[in-house]
Amino acid sequence: MIRNTRIAAACSLLLFLGLLVGAARVQVLNAPEYDANPANRRHALERYAQPRGDIYAAGRRLTGSEDTRQGLRYERSYTDGRLYAPVTGFASQLYGATLLEDTEDGVLAGTDGRLAPLPLWGDLTRSRRPGGQVHTTVVPAVQKAAFRGLRGRKGAVVALEPATGRVLALVSSPGYDPALLSGNSPATALAWDRLTGDPDQPLLNRAIRQTYPPGSTFKVITAVAALESGRVTDIDAPTRTPNPYRLIGSTTLLRNEASGCADAPLREAFAESCNTVFAKLGATVGTRRIVETAEAFGFNDGGLSLPSPVLPSHVDTRMDPAQVALSAIGQYDTRATPLQMARVAATVANGGRSMRPYLVDRLADAGGETVARTRPAYEETVMTPGTAALLRQMMIDAVSDGTGGPAAIDGLTVGGKTGTAQHGVDNSENPYAWFLSWAQRPGTAVPGVAVAVVVEDAEADRADINGGGSAAPVARGVMRAALR
């Protein structure tokens, strides 16, 4: 019987060994698979078990965390949520996160390895650190000016610092309060349904996630292409342009809103926004140069992020002369985000050197100790300093003597370009009003701010819609706020 007992004991031992093997299988071998299962709510619970780190602008908190004492414990709260929603995005227990709340999630949630005092420390202890801080480049005064300037109309404003690429303001309208999407109450679901069902698309970030036909603002690019290619050497020499201008290979006649465009020199044509002159220039310069110049400014670049991903702006790379003529005045298939057009203005302002735009100035741990900082990144020399100087002058003229008059600010040098973009079937819908501009304080080397404004104003009387009238005053307010 002793032998039998020993065998029974050995069997028991084997069973215990089997348990250990089973435990190792579940806890080590299959653990990553189980952890990744979408039905496993642990990630969500852990994510919301501690207050989330905050997003800052100029040292002020844009966000906060409220303790709900429920399962998904900490809810996001926002100070001035509607104003900063195009920067922060939302962080919802139910619907995930967008924009900086999404791209900087690792830092905000405390999981980012850069927050750890020692490498791999977090992996070993499996402890979560308190959420870190995300400091943005946004300047509250500029952001507010842009938000107020739109007055709730549909549209977007982007303000950049030309010398660095810092995003000073990023506004999309109509907006939403991201606090409505925090939490997981029925009210949250209701708000989500309402926001996603709204035909005005308040959740859409028009500044970086929507492209518009750039209209006449594209003429900046056409002018750069014409000057850089040597097709135009003297901006005051008459261009031999008929009015109206017949598009090559078609019977379509292109006309102008302005008068005096026949044979107008580049400077005048730019100031008065003559379609005929720029369409002809586009056709003369050719598709290759137009596309190259546009791409140097950042068109067709799918890789840009602020770090929130930016929808690429588009220009067709294959066009016949009539199409390139239309593209040269910002119509046809050409589409740009407000951010893209702000980059165009900033590059001109910065002497032709394009800087990579960025929204996150620095990342810090919970104690405010900087763990990463964004350095201004030079992207490309789009044009020679001479061309840039000529364009700056042309933009100054467009404000002082042309369509951009409403943007003028006493005591500042302001350059601008209006745009009125047709859209809809047979251009039947109300056009988009555009304005690109920059402003410079006297005595400084480079303009301090570059702005792009787009207003899609379906309610307005069609005749009143133009870049100068609808968009330029918005840009003016933004520039004043930035350089005050």
Partner: protein, 500 residues
């Protein structure tokens, strides 16, 4: 390793000279009560650390009831130790500390789970039941001075066990199984108590009839020799009735336990592999039939085969999937006590799935430690069985060790997804009064048996201590199975049948 390298060995006089000399006087065996006390202090220390850990992790301070809990536990440990010291002074010093540590860790885990369910505090109740358990432990040691006193009453125990198991049929089913007796606010799970009683009965009967079961043959089914019906009959009857009752009550866990326990004890008693084979075949056939026909069991088998099917069908994770998620979240070192999310598992979290909490918060490291504690306890049980040298005690010890093994393996295998989930209870660890009390009785019996096993023959109490008992049987080491057995009666009404 050669002994030549051992300096102590080298200095010793040649072995032959020693062997020719008169045998040395027996070395006095240490009683090891100090070691037991030391281990108990360690166990209480570990439990205190666990409580503190939970407190700091969940509320940043020591838990409010810490003094009560620890004081109560330390008091229980001391009381149990004193009873062992005076009533079973040679008992195995490991059994009690391991049981206390497991019980205490269970309290820590239940206390930890209580933090997440403000309306339902189970740890104080569990501590109360643990107190009852330890009191029963002391009671058994005080009353039962010799384990052989159990033998004459084995048939009564079997009868009591069957009555206990039949009782829940009169009560409404809970979660699909009729395994509870509810009287007032108190609920009991009688099959928990029945398992010890049946183990005593099996041990008694098998000890009496093991030679008959091993060597004599009755009816023959092809090449398989069955023992005489007269020998096999009563035990198979009791066993069969218990199984039928459990199946009627849909207590799958207990059916499995009783079946396995019976087969295991039968094997230990007879050493006939044929029994094992027949047992396994029967078990397989029964399991297949029940699994296919009985809806309650069928669901569990399906859950086991595809734990994530509910997720794929959009119903969200079931309990087994949640359990696997919990284990996976624990990884190597665990999330730390109080820092897991075992609550996701749901309503049985404090009982059936307590091991998942251990796996999540203590990691595979902690789970391994728990399994090793169980293995240590079980090993001590088998060791007692081997050392006791008397068939009834040996069978009882082996049976009790098997009970613990089977419970741990079946429930842990269930929550780990290795076997289908059955309503089994993790011994000592899980919430549940009947279970804790029964397990403390098991500890008491093993302590009593180990005291017997570790007492040298010359120190055993004189027969007058138990006059009704037949003369002591010779130790197994000197007289193995060839010595004729003095067969006790298992039924007072029937004389010994002369089986030798």
């Amino acid at each position: 390793m050669t002994t030549a390298t051992d300096p102590a060995q080298a200095l010793r006089p040649p072995g032959r000279a020693r062997r020719l000399a008169t045998p040395p006087p027996p070395v006095p065996r240490p009683r090891r009560r100090g070691a037991e006390l030391g281990l108990l202090v360690c166990a209480v220390g570990v439990i205190a650390y666990g409580y503190a850990n939970v407190g700091y992790a969940t509320s940043g301070a020591l838990p409010a009831g810490l003094a009560t809990h620890l004081g109560g536990l330390a008091g229980l440990a001391l009381a149990a130790h004193l009873v062992v010291r005076f009533r079973a002074p040679r008992a195995d010093p490991v059994l009690l500390p391991v049981a206390l540590l497991l019980n205490g860790l269970g309290l820590v885990l239940i206390h930890r789970l209580d933090q997440d369910t403000p309306g339902d505090r189970a740890a104080p109740t569990q501590l109360l039941w643990s107190t009852v358990g330890v009191a029963l432990f002391a009671g058994v040691l005080l009353v039962l001075r010799d384990h052989r006193d159990l033998r004459p009453r084995a048939a009564k125990y079997a009868f009591t066990a069957l009555c206990l198991m039949a009782a829940p049929i009169l009560f409404p089913a809970v979660n699909g199984a009729r395994i509870w007796i509810r009287i007032g606010g108190l609920s009991l799970q009688p099959s928990e108590f029945a398992k010890v009683l049946l183990a005593v009965f099996f041990a008694s009967y098998l000890a009496a009839n093991r030679h008959a079961l091993t060597f004599t043959s009755g009816p023959r089914i092809r090449r398989l020799l069955l023992p005489p019906r007269r020998v096999l009959g009563p035990i198979v009857a009791v066993w069969g009735i218990s199984l039928v009752l459990l199946i009627l009550e849909r207590d799958i866990g207990a059916s499995l336990l009783f079946f396995s326990l019976f087969v295991a004890m039968l094997y230990v008693a007879t050493g006939r592999l044929g029994w094992l084979a027949v047992g396994l075949l029967l078990a397989a056939a029964g399991a297949a039939a029940v699994g296919a026909l009985e809806p309650h069991v069928h669901t569990r088998v399906e859950d086991w085969l595809s734990p994530f099917r509910a997720i794929e069908e959009g119903h969200g994770p079931g309990q087994l999937a949640q359990s696997l998620f919990a284990f996976a979240a624990g990884g190597a070192l665990g999330t730390g006590l109080g820092q897991g999310h075992s609550l996701l598992i749901g309503f049985a979290g404090k009982s059936d799935f307590i091991l998942a909490t251990a796996g999540e918060e203590l990691g595979i490291a902690g789970l391994t430690a728990l399994f090793l504690l169980y293995a240590l306890f079980v090993a001590r049980g088998y060791r007692t069985a081997i050392a006791i040298g008397e068939p009834f005690g040996a069978l009882l010890a082996a049976g009790l060790a098997a009970i613990i093994t089977l419970q741990v393996v079946v429930i842990a295998g269930g929550v780990l997804g290795l076997v289908p989930l059955t309503g089994m209870v993790t011994p000592f660890l899980a919430q549940g009064g009947s279970s804790v009390v029964t397990n403390w009785v098991i500890v008491a019996l093993l302590v009593r048996l180990s005291d017997e096993a570790r007492t040298p023959p010359e120190e055993r109490p004189a027969p007058e201590a138990a006059p009704a008992r037949p003369e002591p049987e010779p130790a197994a080491a000197t007289a193995p199975a060839t010595v004729p057995l003095v067969v006790p009666v298992i039924d007072e009404a029937r004389p010994a049948d002369g089986t030798r």
